[in-house]
Symmetry: D4
Subunit: 251 residues, 8 copies
């Protein structure tokens, strides 16, 4: 449709090709510009508006719906990324897009080439069990086109391990720190570096960790000034914000 | 002391001016480099390590302690900034530093010229009552040397107000959104822009807002990918992280 | 029994057909008027008192009990509706009432023709995963005899999607909004329309959504004046109240 | 400004009086249509959009701001209403609008004549201490132009008191029930009537009432199908929704 | 009014003195029988129904209202009791009823002679600070006509203190145990005696006592079979239930 | 052992049959008098001390341990009762005690004849799903030797159902009320009767019932004076306390 | 009384000076041995049983009661210590015991000479505001007779500050760490030392610190093996346990 | 590497074998001294720093990772210990280390001879279901080289059972108390003994125990001065701290 943008709609009005009442009726869809399809509302305009295409949160969707969204994005020339992907969903994507990049630890799938590399993000974990959350962040960063570095198992109970990695941390434009239990690691990292630290609490722990609540509260109360927080186990969001910072403003 | 840095200490060892056992004993304080004084441990090294000098969280400190820290920072050529300042503390600083910049709404004091302006941060509030938190963020940004813009009273209950301000939002390198009650505004802002959004829940509300908990949980669960969260009423931290993003990495 | 209502009981007293002591004894059951059966207490009087027959909350009941209640309602000329129905319960109803209308997504079964259509309710979802709750609301509205419209996937992270659907929202006598995560959608919908909005938080989300608590608190603190809230995942109750509003007072 | 509505803006485009680029720039403010003033953003368009003018939540605002908003609304021919009004704010309004209607128990002020009476709402309280919340609901209903009836002190511990008032309840188009402690009254009221019940938990109680949380949870879990819930102590919102239901859709 | 009971109403119907329609209209108030007055709904029927007159929860009531309820009860020959009484309320009662019995620690007032003594209740406290709650229980028991014994300061940290008092505990028909902090005392008492133990958590403590929540949860999870629980600081209710048990069923 | 009670021990000391140092050593076990066995510490003295034998909480115990405790109690002439019994545990008891009384709904087993019937307890449920908790209470009461009556499905949403059963409630010496969701039924029952009401919240419900927390808080805040509360789903404890009240003090 | 211990009571029985029934009656008080006085139950036996005299928790006690307990302990030759002391209580103690040692920051008073010094405890604070809690711990340690060292302001945001103090930490037999906000410091300290760390969360912080809850949860989930936790702001208990560890078992 | 310690590094600098810039680069890893391997960061230095080797928290690790860590520790001459071990992990360790000591109730494996026995710890449980937590504590103590004693099933509901075991408790240098439900046992134990009590709440219970939260809060609020607390079900940590206390300071 030629009047799919506001500008062309207004031009049509100015040119007398569309009457005012009709223009009033078309205005909302012109503003939204979404490609409404049978089952899914794909936000094809998001890359322009927010800098990156829409990412599919696959949990609770059918495998067919995930594939359909990918097809629509692919047809529009956008690269595709889905998180919280089940085995069944991954298999359905693989059938349709054999070139898919899968990460079963992160539970993600990616289709399409990433943009040129720009910016560096270091992902840090407190313990081995925080790895899946870190992997989700890393996959997100690969999809966004960031250089990444993974520093594992430097939790505060071994206080000498982190200082040994400072050189790697200092290279970062932004740092993601995934930690469960008491969630103290972001505060310590934050005190050593001069870039934003995105803290992601993980549900690793037991008893009074209350599924990550203890780590979440700890990170929110961090005495380090450069620490912000995302949802429990939200590796994707931590990676996304870190990547956005590292790449600078999208244009 | 001449060996106040690691390098000079090592040089002294290499030059035979300091024996190995003595060097071992001096190593910790050389590493820390803190200027230990009678009452306070001022982290004078932080600007080098983290890009900005230490900021004083004045709550629970005596007025004398605040002044003493400022004096020590000032003597080192660092600019000074304190938050959560009481009337008594502000008065004490004013006596010693008549040039102080005070903001009674933000409850902050600043001494010393800010650096050259770099980067732009837009601070957004949902309602009038979120203003003090927004002011604390703004003062932080002024101290860091960022250009700022304040957009007030664009909460979601008046859904047409935010789109009218999009032009101003699009200029930002980072956005701070302060909101109480249901805390929905950051999600909506996040869906319109291509830069990180730092959400700061405020304790504005009543009943089931539980002192800001409702807004905090809402922001942590935001469906917008570019939203991270700081503590309730933490205007300083929101401003700090936004300023760090806007200025890029300190050197 | 001829004295099954208060009026006939009193008439019998006035006519001397029942003595005062006997009338005193019969009074409680005359007041209650419930049809007490072997296993279940079916509230056959509810349609007169509350405008609609009793609805069966099937969770925790045996399949036989669900069928028995339906039979009793059916024998009284009432239409039947059950929610939270298991596969086993649905199968048992299907054997006895082959004409049953089943919705496996909503987990509901209906028997009997709905009343004439009256009033319009629009059901809105923030994301695909909120669909089962929305379907439960829709089935309830069909059973009540309301016209319905379903608007899906217009969550706030794609802020342009909702305005594109305003025409459909404006046709509503009442709106049901189902949303998980931060639960911000009802506030935004509420700011656009002139009818009551029934917000139903869903347990969609992870981490600090705490099974729907974040959405629930968000909705309770909504800054939109026309938003009320029901229990987490309570599609039935949201639909029921919306239908009651849309149809006006039952007679 | 002549192009203050979308229609006139589009007409100007069609008539060649405004060029397309300029129209694109004016579009946002045309959509929003807010009367932006020095200190406050008054939503003068809300009456058209939502059926009733904006209501001022006075808590946290200066007395001057409340008066300014009232003046602007008054100048636009809208009637004014503010809740959570302090003594100082009420006095400031009284100076400017001597005809103000004040209710110190409800902590509200009203200026301007209500519309014609339409619909009936009954407000019910469980105990004497719930009165302020009930009064806030009543004032809201008077401002909206509804007939009201107040039934007090019929909590469930005196189970015979409610049935004695059934005739009054049956006259309602909608019912507001304010209750603290265990919050059981809405469930009982809901079982007797054929109209929606808006339950408002109050912070009345002590110990494990946790500031109204116990009542809130009780009401959300109500087994009565026609009960919805608003925030703790939210008399205004309960009254507003009940009034909206009672009056039917605004036009 | 001669038809103030159901029986006389029915007799009037049988005798033709009241027509059936009129009887239908009078039925609700005949069932309820409350003495409705200007400001307060006094439940004068409660002594017959529940064994004891209504008790006034004074918190949130005006002094005048407390006095009015007492006057009405007094006029009906009932004895009066109010809890959570402020100094102002107590003074107002004292003016009207100089014979009042006041307990400023318990914050209660009583008017009228108690019934004959029947049954024995022992009230036990863990620490000195639990005394006000214990006093409220004791006053309730005096008003009900129970023999009482007060055993103080036998918390579990001095584990030898309780066994020394076993003889006194064994005399009880019911025991009230008031404890704050960890609330362990009811479990220990429960293991020594053969009567019901009413546990009342107090808000005594700090930090993680969370206003009595820790004690409340501890008592609810008591491994002693004979322990039931009332609300935090609910000395009245603990005393009331204990007194009801000790006196046996009222007639 | 002949000196198994304090009296005989002291008599041995007085008679010179046991020296003082030896008596000091024997004192603790004389006081405790527990029959310590290989795996379990059975409290055979409890019947004397608390009026009833020990009841086995089977959850988390091996089937062998349950049988062993029963054997030891049986050998001492005590009757046996276990709650939260798994199928495997029930089967093991059945092999050893073929005369066992099993209730699979209540998940209890009993061995041994109950004492003579004394006292009456009515058990009331709000809905069908509360039945298992009610059955556990009933089994406890049968084991204690109380007459019981079960009134089901009289929740407050059908407010006319309870008054129809008042005659049955009035026969009770104590009443157990099991209710989930909002837990309002105990308050209503409490307002109609003159005996203690033991409220037992059940985990029936969904969403904001939070596993019974809503019902628990509701019952703790009950405005009825005669309501006490036990743990969520604690049918045993509710029955035990009610039975203890109904039977009067054990001797 | 000559039979104040079990041994002398038994000797009297053996010697025929006390009959068996009388001995049975005296047994409980012989076991307990408390000096029961008019107002207070002073546990004079505690020093023998637990190694240290009873400590007075002054909050909620009258000034007279505190003085009376001190007098009784003093008369028994025990040294006296009270925490959470108000100005009024401190003044009353000062009148009676002019030699009292007062610490207004810790809010403690001490009377009597401490025992010989034994063991070393280091008390560490994260920030200046944690000082009062640290002082309460220090006063407790002085009263117990431990050598102490106070290390302040070494929170994790300045990660170089703690290593600079390691020499002091390594001297400790036990370490007390007081920290608010995220409570991360005990984990870091625990990773550097070979002695038990007693973590005491403080209520320092704001927003999501929820009065110390965040720090408490963080410390409970500490990944350092040697960290145990006490109640929020419980400086006394932290000092007491650390002192007990440092001195070794009392004899 | 020869310069693996600080001392040798500095010696190399002094001897001119390493230049200052190179020394600066090597300093961090010299400080940390960790043996960095392919998959795991084993803290081989911990025994020197903290007195005991690192313990493996196996939950969430692969079986291969557990074996690899054990191999590395074994190669360094350290003894090995892992907790929260799955069947698969235990089997993998058994294949590699046939001499492994397994405890399936505790879910632990140990390899290597314990040190000489030093100190005595008594582990106490309230009920049979607390056994797994107690066993984890016992295994930890065996690995540390402490004498242990296990006292089971002495919960407060049988209050005479604990005093009968006092002789055993008095032998302890430290006591671990594991209890679920109300968690009252540590307070009672604490009141009888003169050594530290490490309280470990267990998740035993139901309903309002909320997975051990009730016991946790109870223990934190313990009125006994010598009670500290660890995480819910944290048998390892309780045992570790108790062992550390019992053995005295490691050298």
């Amino acid at each position: 449709m030629t009047s799919s943008t506001l500008e062309s709609l207004l031009a049509d009005v100015a040119g007398g090709r569309i009457a005012v009442p009709e223009a009033l009726a078309q205005l909302p869809s012109a503003v939204s510009g979404s490609a409404l399809t049978a089952e899914a509302t794909v936000d094809l305009d998001r890359a322009r508006r927010c800098g990156f295409p829409e990412v599919v949160f696959a949990q609770g969707k059918t495998a067919a719906a995930v594939v359909e969204i990918f097809e629509r994005q692919h047809a529009s020339g956008q690269r595709c990324f889905a998180t919280r992907v089940s085995d069944e969903q991954a298999a359905a994507v693989r059938v349709r897009f054999p070139e898919v990049l899968e990460n079963p630890v992160a539970r993600t799938v990616r289709v399409g080439a990433p943009p040129d590399i720009q910016g560096t993000v270091v992902v840090v974990t407190a313990g081995t069990s925080d790895r899946p959350v870190a992997e989700e962040a890393l996959e997100t960063l690969h999809w966004m086109g960031c250089e990444t570095d993974l520093v594992v198992d430097v939790g505060v109970a071994g206080p000498h391990r982190l200082p040994a990695q400072l050189k790697r941390l200092e290279r970062a434009d932004a740092i993601v720190v995934a930690a469960g239990m008491e969630g103290a690691l972001p505060s310590v990292v934050g005190g050593w570096v001069a870039c934003p630290v995105i803290a992601v609490p993980t549900s690793v722990g037991y008893g009074a960790s209350f599924g990550g609540l203890a780590a979440l509260l700890g990170m929110l109360n961090s005495c380090a000034s450069n620490v912000t927080v995302v949802n429990i186990d939200a590796g994707f969001k931590a990676g996304y914000v870190a990547g956005m910072i590292a790449r600078g403003r999208a244009t």
